[in-house]
């Protein structure tokens, strides 16, 4: 196995009384898209900014591509590409001009035209950056992050505030980053995004990692159960449903019945047989497996986006 591209151990950052980051450790393999998941204020951005060399940790160690970030933050900056949360650039400068500007800060830089093409901003290459839409601005931010052809790219909530279409288009960009072999550290509070993009992820809350693994792994680890839902049907009574094989809980709300089961295949088959016997059909039948949202809810007792 390769040496990790990023290795973080026992990272701590304290703001006054608040332990914003409270002993975080993880490792990111080269070429992975690694997700930092958590609600606002969980410590995601603080963690990322310490890895980028923007903030000095109050404890712990960070190694990036073999460089000790805490001791040599300037050296790290040459190696990484950064997209910060909600960055406005020099408003009057065009994408082309901004890429030239940021390129001039690095020892080596890619040609602006190549980067503009890479994020599909050709049409807006010469427009002042203030005139770009939210999605275009984020694509520009990613192009700027790639200006020094970095091995490791940090994307801090790149899709926050974007409409669904712009979000999907940005996901494509991130998938292409992965295809090019970049290591990507992505923070997000969209669980769907993490499920879609991340090879591995950690969930952070109150400055601590509360879960880590792959999206599927986390869901399976925390949920064997799934749920079966359908519209209320008088003959399918509470008692009958509760006695179905595998069913461990029945809820009735808003005209719908929800049947929780540790063995959803068995339970569903038994439910359909029962309905046949009674001569009814459960309308609006659907089966739900757990999502990261459920994992998060279970782990923290709250929804991710509140």
């Amino acid at each position: 196995m390769n040496k990790p591209a990023i290795e973080v151990a026992d990272l701590v950052k304290i703001y006054g009384e608040l332990r914003a980051v409270d002993g975080i450790s993880f490792a990111v393999d080269p070429g992975q898209v690694f997700g930092l998941l958590g609600p606002n204020g969980a410590g995601k951005s603080t963690t990322v900014e310490m890895i980028e060399g923007l903030r000095k940790p109050d404890g712990g160690s960070i190694t990036l591509l073999g460089v000790d970030v805490v001791r040599q933050p300037q050296r790290v900056k040459e190696l990484i590409g950064v997209q910060l949360q909600s960055t406005a650039f020099f408003k009057q400068l065009s994408a082309r001009r901004l890429l030239r500007l940021f390129g001039s800060f690095f020892k080596k830089s890619l040609p602006p035209d190549q980067l503009i093409a890479w994020v599909n901003l050709e049409e807006k290459a010469d427009a002042p950056s203030a005139a770009l839409s939210g999605g275009q601005r984020q694509r520009l931010a990613i192009a700027i992050a790639l200006v020094n052809d970095p091995q490791v790219v940090f994307l801090d909530e790149p899709t926050t505030g974007l409409d669904p279409q712009a979000r999907r288009s940005l996901w494509d960009v991130i998938r292409r980053l992965r295809a090019e072999g970049k290591t990507v550290l992505l923070t997000t509070h969209y669980l769907e995004e993490a499920e879609q993009l991340c090879d591995r992820l950690v969930i952070i809350d109150h400055g601590r990692i509360i879960a880590s693994g792959t999206a599927d792994g986390l869901i399976h680890e925390h949920f064997e159960r799934a749920s079966v839902e359908f519209f209320n049907e008088p003959k399918l009574t509470h008692e009958r449903l509760a006695s179905l094989p595998g069913a461990d809980k029945v809820e009735e709300a808003n005209g719908r019945m929800t049947l929780y089961s540790g063995d959803v295949a068995h339970t569903t088959r038994a439910l359909l047989s029962l309905a046949d016997e009674l001569g009814v059909a459960p309308r609006g039948l659907s089966v739900h497996s757990a999502t990261l949202e459920d994992v998060f809810l279970k782990l923290t007792g709250k929804h991710l986006r509140e």
Partner: protein, 395 residues
């Protein structure tokens, strides 16, 4: 170097798009100088008023005086070379001369009080020396015609000398064969009464520099901080010193540009004279720019956002202008204000120094107070700016 150049360019395009900054640093001062120039130069007549003192009782004095007084009335056919180079060739350039005879002390007094532009004194030995013929001792005594004039009248001096010399030579040739007996000697008068525009120009220069610091330094920097641009730049290998140098370099360029425009308008349109050395003037302007840039950086360090920086700049701007003597001399102020407030205002020291350099070429050693006060402002403001400056919004 490439980073510096690109950052300079980025700053320039931000500055050019900032209408407030452009207006207050360039358009506003230019408007001021033009309006004040037009208002206050109307009172300055176009003619050159010349006092004529005839101390010579002999015939030559009267002859010379007559020739001079006839100059404005002559329809002088000009040499073709000169005529082709000027546009109003049909006009006698000497018609603007107005002569008035009188006693030397009275006329010099008038000159000192700006009721005359120059005084010519025809010496008492004029006839005696010129009419002595070949009986002169060796070396021949000379008759000295005096031209009393303000050294700041930089266009009038060569004009007067150019007018007088041929007249003197002409009279000389008429009465004697000895050449070069008549000499012209210039006497500088120093008690020049300032025209309002002479007084205003240095003040407007100082004002424009102050507004560069107040309105074009803090706000754009805060915008970069609030927008997260400074933080984003911090995530690149760019050194902060490079960023700072580019930021200051652009503002020094703007200062150079605005002062050049204002001085050009003042000197070309309104004939404001710059008596002192250009180097001294540039030095004070540079120093003043640093003072107000430092104040701008301090404001950027302590202001929460762009709006509060602009508000603070407005609050500082007006009292500074009113109390600094930029637009009128500060007299008749309450004692408390004059004693405690005025000495605190940096604009005073800058405007005062610029005025001295431009109006009477005061040497540096007699402006030590100004120098020290400005240096103190630079040091204190820079120290405070460094102490309080944040590269990103606090969390």
């Amino acid at each position: 170097m490439r980073a510096l150049r690109e950052l300079y360019w980025a700053n320039l395009s931000e500055f050019l798009s900032n209408k407030r900054a452009l207006g207050l640093t360039i358009a506003f001062p230019v408007l001021f100088i033009v309006i004040f120039g037009l208002v206050f130069t109307n009172q300055d007549k176009q003619e050159a008023r010349i006092g004529l003192v005839i101390e010579d009782t002999g015939p030559v004095g009267e002859q010379l005086a007559g020739k001079l007084e006839a100059l404005p009335k002559e329809d002088v056919p000009k040499p073709s070379a000169v005529a082709s180079s000027t546009t109003d060739s049909d006009r006698n350039p000497l018609s603007s001369l107005v002569f008035r005879r009188g006693e030397k002390t009275a006329l010099l007094d008038d000159l000192n009080n700006a009721r005359l532009d120059a005084v010519i004194v025809l010496p008492s030995n004029l006839s005696a020396v010129l009419l002595a013929g070949g009986d002169l001792p060796n070396p021949a005594p000379q008759a000295e015609v005096e031209l009393h004039i303000d050294p700041a009248r930089q266009t009038l001096i060569p004009f007067m000398e150019g007018v007088l010399t041929p007249v003197l030579r002409g009279v000389e040739a008429e009465v004697t064969e000895e050449p070069q007996i008549l000499t012209l000697k210039r006497f500088n008068t120093n008690a020049r009464e300032l025209r309002t525009i002479d007084y205003l120009l240095p003040g407007i220069l100082a004002m424009s520099i102050m507004q560069l610091g107040l309105f074009a330094t803090a706000q754009p920097l805060i915008a970069l901080r609030v927008g997260g641009v400074l933080k984003r730049l911090g995530a690149t290998p760019l050194r902060r010193s490079t960023l700072l140098v580019a930021y200051v370099a652009l503002r020094l360029t703007v200062a150079l540009l605005q002062t050049a425009i204002i001085i050009a308008i003042g000197t070309l349109l309104f004939k404001v004279a710059i008596v002192g050395s250009w180097l001294a003037l540039a030095g004070w302007l540079f120093l003043g720019t640093l003072v107000f840039l430092a104040i701008g950086f301090f404001m950027a360090a302590v202001a929460k956002n762009e709006e509060s920086a602009i508000a603070a700049a407005n609050v500082i701007n007006l009292p500074m202008l009113l109390l600094s003597g930029v637009f009128f001399p500060i007299n008749h102020l309450p004692m408390v204000v004059e004693k405690f407030l005025i000495p605190l205002i940096p604009l005073n020291y800058l405007a005062d120094a610029l005025r001295h350099v431009m109006v009477d070429a005061t040497p540096l050693h007699s402006m030590q107070t100004n120098l020290l006060a400005l240096l103190a402002w630079i040091v204190v403001m820079t120290a405070l700016a460094v102490r309080f400056f944040r590269w990103e919004e606090s969390r």
